[in-house]
């Protein structure tokens, strides 16, 4: 009897709790707006990309100014005078200042600005590229988006989804990108952005994307990306992408690259982000193009993705400006 009462109490307790939880009713008049929510999701993604680029640019600018200021301190004559004779150095500097008509101080030397190395003529305007055989230490630029080429102020962005094991993508980069660069990117009208979309049917396509992105982290995206595409037939069976890339990078950079490909988890995040974007853009082939203008995305459905097809779309949106 006592056990039965205990069981009954337990059941009543369970029912009491379940009734409390079930009493949580959603508001009947709630009508979610999916369209607005989706637009806000896309805007959030774009804002994230812009913020990351801005943060990196600020970091590069701060470092450059600090380096330049240090260089001026080291090279300015007053510094040497102080080093030679700490005591009278102040007098020397004062004498230098006083010698310029007493009121106008000597002109300040312009701060040297660290230049990006000259880009090879065959490449779009890009991060520094080292040629093979150059054993000097290459600059390491951790850009948020090293896959972006062209002026930040360009009104149109052309996004190209690539699979590194796709022959059409290789043709596109070899034949279409130089024309696009010459006519639009260098004129400051278009910004070119590459996105990774390794197809599941290509066994080593994702590995190739990891190599290209890791090289981008080290400032060598353009050269490595092209090398990977041009030597596709040499690695698509074996997966030995490393040997192909080693032909265009110095040995010390290759070591860093291998380490990143092996263990940097951000590479997979980058690829996943691009794949998610591709799905949202209804990607159905590679190479696949999207024109972005004033926050609006327009996919280029022409196949093949030719220079003429892109030119037509770019000119159309530019006319609306």
């Amino acid at each position: 009897m006592a056990n039965r009462e205990h069981e009954t109490d337990g059941l009543m307790n369970d029912r009491w709790v379940d009734d409390r939880i079930a009493s949580l009713a959603s508001t009947g008049d709630l009508i979610p707006n999916a369209g607005i929510a989706l637009a806000r999701l896309r805007e959030r993604r774009r804002a994230r990309a812009v913020a990351a680029r801005g943060a990196i640019r600020r970091w590069i600018w701060t470092t450059t100014v600090a380096t330049g200021a240090g260089a001026v301190l080291l090279l300015a004559p007053a510094s040497r005078a102080c080093a030679q004779q700490p005591g009278p150095c102040v007098q020397r500097v004062w004498a230098m200042v006083a010698s310029n008509s007493g009121t106008v101080p000597p002109p300040v030397a312009p701060l040297p600005v660290a230049k990006v190395a000259d880009t090879p003529p065959s490449s779009p305007l890009a991060a520094p590229v080292a040629k093979s055989g150059n054993r000097g230490t290459a600059p390491v630029i951790e850009r948020a988006n090293f896959k972006e080429f062209g002026a930040d102020t360009a009104p149109v962005c052309v996004e190209i989804y690539l699979d590194f094991d796709c022959p059409h993508c290789a043709n596109f980069v070899r034949d279409v990108v130089p024309r696009l660069t010459a006519e639009y990117v260098e004129a400051g009208q278009v910004r070119l952005l590459y996105r990774d979309f390794p197809l599941p049917t290509h066994r080593f396509a994702k590995l190739a994307a990891r190599y290209a992105d890791a090289a981008g982290q080290l400032g060598y995206y353009d050269a490595v990306m092209k090398q990977i595409l041009e030597t596709r037939l040499d690695w698509d069976e074996s997966g030995d992408i490393d040997t192909q890339i080693a032909q265009v990078l110095p040995a010390d950079v290759m070591d860093k690259l291998r380490e990143r490909v092996k263990s940097d988890p951000r590479l997979d995040d980058m690829i996943s982000d691009d794949q998610a974007a591709g799905q949202a853009d209804h990607l159905d082939r590679t190479p696949f193009g999207v024109i972005v203008y004033e926050g609006r995305r327009q996919t280029v459905t022409d196949a093949p993705l030719s220079f003429e097809a892109l030119k037509k779309r770019i000119d159309e949106v530019m006319e609306k400006k």
């Binding site: 307790n13 409390r20 959603s26 709630l30 979610p32 998610a276 159905d284």
Partner: protein, 177 residues
Amino acid sequence: MDARSETSGGIEIEESPLNFETAFYQHYDRIVHAIARVVGDPACAEELAIEVFWRFWRNPQAQGEKAGGWLYRTAIHLGLHELRRRARHARYERLLRFVSPATPEEIRAAGEEHERVRRVLGAISPRDAELLLQQNNDFSYEEMAAALRLNPASVGTLIGRARGAFRKEYTKLYGKP
């Protein structure tokens, strides 16, 4: 790569099993309502639903056949997180009560049963709260075990304990029912 894709000038791919946008439109309303049940605030529910789909977007592995379950679990998780955040906020506010006494609206809301339930859910352990909400939404024991990384054989026992924890916390806050 086949002959058709060669002539079309690109490698055509099969439509991905779960296009993100399709999944979004398919599940968005349900996710908003599920969160609204937990948090009781429609505007907050829509904000949290966007967060759910943001995480879904960044997690391609979740975009498969079981996307619905992943979305729902994440929605409940974020809803309960919001309840716990409010509970912490309420505790800090009580410390300052001598400065700002409760408004009539706050007093009325605290008396409403569903607000009490939400407060209790925010106060008990996250696992217990998730178990109670999922069980109330007809999730199977296998689904609950998978979501919370539990042994399916122990889900029944854990739900019993969750109910006990809920009643104990309710009694502690509002007296014996």
